[in-house]
Amino acid sequence: MDENLAENELRAALADNDPAAVELLWNHYASDLFAFLQVVLCSRHDAEDVLQTVFVRIARKRHRLAGARNLDAYVYQIARNEAFRLISRRKKEQTAGVESESWLMVAESHPKPSDLAEQLQAALARLPQPQREVIVMKVYKQKTFLDISRLLGLPVNTVASRYRYGIEKLRTLLGDFIS
């Protein structure tokens, strides 16, 4: 219900061309998008840059957002496009992101937090992009398969199978930590 209220408030601000919509957009999307971008790009710095690009793009094309039927899907699509643009630019320029950058944190209570964080980062980075997207939304943002399918514009079964394959691959990659 709160989600609907927030979305209605955001739609009203967009329709009124009110700059306060930027704050509403931030409150509504920033946390989820930042997590999504960190895992997709495997870099906190790149995620920050792309998040800024996403918000600037939304501000520039706000009339389209105001007319979008599914705000969440529209915003996520912009984020995905910007992330892929950065990845393809990196590939063309053959430049890597900041190496050994830590974007995943493990609680200090764990026996070897830095080791685990490093292993998890490495394992997630080796997953195919689509599987990583689904895992971050499901595990770190507690979204249901239905929510994810709506956000990514995919069938629910596809989302579920991507998640299952991703987890199975992680099981193989993280064998030492599981056993």
Partner: protein
């Protein structure tokens, strides 16, 4: 299968043991300021402008396609135009030489008509046909044009009784 599921559960728990950092207040400040700046700088596009723009683009594309089709058609059919046919069908005709021929006035009129109607045109063809019809009507219908009538009104191919008796 159960062991596999249990291991998958362990992987999920392991992932949940880690967390991703939240955007910092500095990042929020930086991004919202930048986005608001763009918001104020860029005027909002009028919503009706988008379909109108698409309509104009579609119309322009349609005009271009029609123009290209016409241009292509004109180029292809250029060799079949009336001028080319006239040049191809024009043959040197020495009209004076025709005066030596029998029926020379008639042939000369036909040749002259042929020269005038070299352009392919329905009205010209109709005129041509009309003229030909008139010429044929006006043509002298003398006795030489008709086969001679048989003597006594009967065919010469059927022998009469008298001549038939003379053979016997």
């Amino acid at each position: 299968m159960n062991g596999k599921d249990a291991q998958n559960k362990k992987v999920e728990d392991l992932l949940r043991g880690a967390h991703l950092s939240e955007p910092s207040p500095q990042l929020q400040e930086r991004i919202t300021v930048e986005a608001k700046k763009v918001w104020n700088e860029v005027p909002q596009e009028l919503p009706w402008l988008i379909p109108v723009g698409r309509l104009v683009a579609s119309a322009a594309a349609a005009v271009l396609v029609v123009w290209l089709a016409n241009y292509s058609s004109d180029r292809t059919l250029a060799q079949w135009s009336s001028g080319a046919v006239h040049a191809a069908s024009q043959q040197p005709t020495d009209i004076e030489a025709l005066s030596e021929m029998p029926y020379s006035p008639f042939v000369m009129r036909l040749v002259l008509l042929d020269h005038r109607s070299s352009a392919i045109d329905a009205s010209v063809l109709i005129d041509h046909a009309e003229t030909l019809r008139r010429i044929l009507e006006e043509a002298p219908q003398g006795e030489s044009a008709k086969p001679p009538a048989p003597a006594g009104g009967r065919s010469r191919l059927i022998p009469d009784r008298q001549s038939a008796n003379s053979y016997s």
